[in-house]
Symmetry: C2
Subunit: 419 residues, 2 copies
């Protein structure tokens, strides 16, 4: 047997909060004007109180509302798969497992927090959400979630993506969301995630019926993703494994990484590994400091590894990993030595993606392929030492909407990179 599918009744009913397990206290976000810690009132125009509460909660477990569980059960628990064909191709004694988050309606892990955020906003009487999206992975997930709770949604999409990558824009519209290119006030500007955040926040604060929604970085977002690691832990036990030796995930803002690794933080023998692109090496080359979440410098200051909020990463295919900073929770774990990080160039990542596709069958998203590269390298290292290492990685999303990237790789058109 090489695939473990839990029944919908086995879905975790509480999220795992990593905050009580940190070895040093988490520093608070600071107001961009006063540089004092932000309070609930500062955030209330943007987020519902339930999410603001989760942002600072020190409860070890937080119950998942029944209405959220009902929707998550459309695709959760997701399968845990042992990649026996990849193992064989590598000739490794390691056992490689992946958690398949690509089976969600929008094709990635993003849907886990989208549903929770839509629910809490609806519960607080909000009628409409705004958000930004780059390549569109987050926008699709939130549009699906808003369709489930009958919420209106306006997505500010980075203009270059809006014009060059229409498929995710169409998917957002098919679920009922409205999409506009950003920046809205300058049709000649190609846009950036920073400009799109500014547009979405400006829209939100101008209307009483509207809140803003973020798909990564914040504590409550990572909290909602911990269903991934909780399920994986139970499925590994079913597979006869005690614990993995290493848990691996790609890191952009840090949400899928936090989701699969946090439930393993208390298990001191389990290594946790973040994988990032060499072109945006926040954890491997950045500085731990307070910095803004957006390019314009209007969000609260967050304590995190950062390349500087004005850092402009080169255009790479893993658009979800092009962020100048990291989630404070991930940053803290790296700073405290509980989590490791490694960076790979794009070509090595696609080489791993194609090897995975031809052995295990599924085409991974470019972001996901970073984790596959690291998992393969861990398995090859185990081949050298003969160690029967247990490797777990997060298959965070499929690559059906990223095939143009594979075309570039297949035809030798990937841009050169250092590293």
């Amino acid at each position: 047997m090489s695939r473990w599918s839990l029944p919908p009744s086995a879905i975790p009913t509480a999220w795992f909060n990593v905050i009580p397990h940190l070895t040093s206290p988490l520093q608070p976000p600071l107001h961009p004007g006063t540089r004092e810690p932000v309070g609930p009132d500062d955030l209330a125009p943007l987020f519902p109180m339930a999410l603001i509460g989760q942002e600072v909660s020190t409860d070890p477990w937080i119950d998942i509302p029944g209405e959220v569980l009902d929707i998550l059960r459309l695709w959760r628990p997701t399968p845990l798969v042992r990649a026996t064909r990849l193992e064989k191709a590598l000739g490794t004694p390691a056992r490689i497992y992946f958690k398949d988050e690509s089976v969600s309606p929008s094709g990635s892990h993003k849907t886990n927090t989208a549903v929770a955020q839509a629910f809490y906003n609806k519960q607080e009487g909000i009628a409409r959400l705004t958000t930004e999206t780059g390549a569109g992975q987050w926008g699709t997930a939130l549009s699906f979630a808003c369709s489930q709770f009958d919420l209106d949604l306006k997505v500010y999409m980075v203009r270059t993506s809006y014009e060059q990558k229409p498929y995710r824009r169409i998917a957002i519209e098919t679920w009922g969301g409205e999409v506009v290119p950003s920046p809205v006030d300058d049709p000649n500007n190609p846009g950036s995630l920073g400009s799109a955040i500014s547009d979405a926040v400006r829209d939100c604060v101008s209307r009483d019926d509207t809140h803003y929604s973020l798909g990564s970085v914040l504590n409550h977002v990572l909290l909602h993703q911990t269903v991934i690691g909780l399920e994986a832990k139970e499925q590994l036990e079913q597979a006869g494994e005690r614990l993995p030796d290493v848990v691996i995930a790609p890191c952009g803002g840090g949400s899928n990484l936090g989701g699969i690794t946090f439930p393993f933080v208390p298990e001191k023998d389990v290594r946790l590994l973040a994988v990032e692109p060499v072109s945006c090496p926040t954890l491997t080359q950045g500085t731990f400091d307070y910095d803004f979440g957006d390019v314009a410098g209007t969000t609260p200051l967050l304590p995190m590894y950062t390349l500087g909020h004005d850092f402009m990463p080169p255009s790479i295919h893993a658009g979800g990993l092009r962020y100048h900073g990291d989630a404070p929770l991930v940053s803290q774990l790296v700073r405290d030595g509980r989590m490791e990080a490694v960076a790979y160039p794009q070509g090595k990542v696609f080489e791993a993606a194609v090897q995975f596709t031809r052995t295990e069958g599924k085409i991974p998203a470019p972001e996901t392929s970073h984790a596959i590269r690291a998992a393969i390298d861990e398995a090859l290292a185990a081949k050298e030492t003969g160690e029967e290492k247990v490797i777990l990685f997060n298959f965070s999303g499929h690559g059906f909407l990223d095939l143009a990237a594979y075309d570039d790789y297949n035809n030798g058109r990937l841009p050169e990179e250092q590293g």
Copy 2:
């Protein structure tokens, strides 16, 4: 509970052969030159003997080889899902279930027969396969399967699809297959499935190491798809249902339709419903007669419902349903009154697809959406009568690579149709 996932160990270990259950004998295919029944020797240049044997077998069950099961278990059994959110939106007392074939590596049911065909060819010492593909659903499935058995693959892709729909071409290449536009000898010709079949067959017969592979229509192809219906039957029992009142699937060549309906043929109270586009109404408007499988008239003559092998259906988004004929097994069941057929115009089909997407979350392929339209109409009829009808349909594939079609629908750009 609204989703039933069987463990990989519960996969069916034999295919269900519908031939012994037909009420009138199946007429044989005829040689295009002599008009005499074709024998195994006529087909040996194209297919391995194991598949030729399956084509005419009257055994009620045919064992699935272990090597095929090992690969099918990467994603099978597929989930059976009860569409409770769609039911609620419709206000129907009907219970609607769908079998989710979109979770396969290539995103559709086509992978089920692709794996079996690749296996039998490899077993007979074949090194290389050729095939044709229209929009690319079949080409992707066979490319995945060939990667698993280390077979070379050359796909002749209808030139207009090759040029206008690059994503499935890229996916075929990523799994290792070679793709060329067809017709190969005329770069100004937009091509058709008929020309692509001619190219693929010509290539095949010119080389001793090469066989040809077909993704629908033939008896052995439909046989390999019966895992769908066999699993669904078991899962419905788990869900507490005795039998469905009606089983629904889209019909192009007939392979996904045969796959989900054939195991229910012996259950006389279960209605079987084929759904086709009004623009290519083979079962509802065609004639039952011997006709060629390809436009050029070079294949054996098959007994089937046909619009004439030179019928050129208008360009619609459900490319998989643009075929002038139907599988002989499906045709026979319709002629004998055991199976019904209904045709829908494209706009009504997309209306159903969007309603499904906004309730159940998943974006269906345009072909699949035909079954959804019929399922919704059956459920609405049950609402009128108050009947607690049990409806089962085949969710044959996802629509991530068909989003341009949704863009046309969302923006009122679908071409006009009769019906």
